[in-house]
Amino acid sequence: MNMMSHVLAANALITAFAAVGILMWISGAISKYLTFGRIHASAIAIMLGLALAFFGGLATGGEKGVADLPALTGIGLMGGAMLRDFAIVATAFEVDVIHARKAGAIGAIALGLGTVVPFILGVFVAAAFGYTDAVSMTTIGAGAVTYIVGPVTGAAIGASSPVIALSIATGVFKAVIVMIGTPFVAKMIGLNNPRSAMVFGGLMGTVSGVSGGLAATDRRLVPYGALTATFHTGLGCLVAPSILYFAVRAIVGE
């Protein structure tokens, strides 16, 4: 047992790869067999990650979730700001500018609204719950955009870990509601053609939420929604820690 924990601790980052991989397998199985593909494996994995962080925090009394357990310190490196920003930037490589033109002006409007509107709503909810500093309000507002924009923004402007955790949870919760809720409201919001699917993708953001929700509604609409949704995170990472943060700061002060 001692030898085992020594190996795990000595290879911290490798241990983290193995641990996260196992978590992804479990999430894949839950997604397939318990939700019948309704909820994306990635969303389940992030929720499990947050749940583990909760129990890890209770067990160790620390502030860094499971990364406070000696065997799992590698999680701290793997999920730290350095590798996170690296991997998120890499996703931009799949953005096809020629494809982007297809979405046109209506896609751009949807993207803009899809970033600003949830942000404002998130900021107001944060204010209602007593987060009155610009950094926390911006981070929670960014979390309402997507679960990536939230922590990227929070890290960039120096938010505390509990606030960043809140912003991740908000974004994941949003993605899950989109996945489950879309088929039920599809008819009401006119989600039966490529153009509305592109508007939907731009407004909702999170590729996992959009592709999951559209797949459950009408498989043929998925590529159109994913087309605009892929720009959502990039746009959010660009404007949330800059223009939107300054706007919040200008209104509420430091």
Binding site: M24, F93, V117, G122, D218, C237, L238
Partner: protein, 144 residues
């Protein structure tokens, strides 16, 4: 070479981070202003440049795409190291902001759809394409 892709990604990330910090300093805030977003723009521009000059090799693509495909696992690791115990005290924020954001966005989808007039539905498009089946057409369905 795979390393050229990883290096390109690294250079873009570093440049973005540097410009984000500089922008923050210029604006008088202790923050990285949009560094990740700026880095993404560099990478998109870099990819376009490489395609235009015929330099986008398979190895280079592999190097960048590996890290891109790694981002969900990294986000899971990030979630697993947050101070969730402290965040749980603010629980209702998550539910209210999440539900609110989705509800407002659903409404906007409906609104934009109504304002911009009627278009062919997916069923109508397929029906028309069936009639025009003798005319060659191409369909792409790649999902990101």
């Amino acid at each position: 070479m795979t390393i050229s892709g990883v290096a390109l990604l690294a250079i873009c990330t570093l440049l973005g981070g540097l410009l984000g910090d500089l922008l923050g300093a210029a604006l008088g805030v202790k923050a990285n202003v949009g560094g990740v977003g700026i880095a993404m723009i560099f990478l998109i521009a870099g990819r376009l440049w490489l395609i235009r000059h015929g330099q986008l090799s398979h190895g280079l693509k592999t190097g960048v795409e590996f890290w891109g495909s790694f981002y969900i696992p990294i986000v899971v690791a990030m979630a697993a190291q947050q101070n969730v115990v402290a965040a749980v005290k603010g629980g209702p924020v998550v539910v209210i902001a999440g539900v609110g954001a989705v509800a407002v966005c659903f409404a906007m989808v409906a609104l934009i759809g109504r304002l911009s007039g009627r278009v062919e539905t997916m069923d109508e498009i397929e029906a028309r394409e069936l009639i025009e089946a003798n005319v060659p057409h191409f369909k792409s369905g790649r999902i990101g």
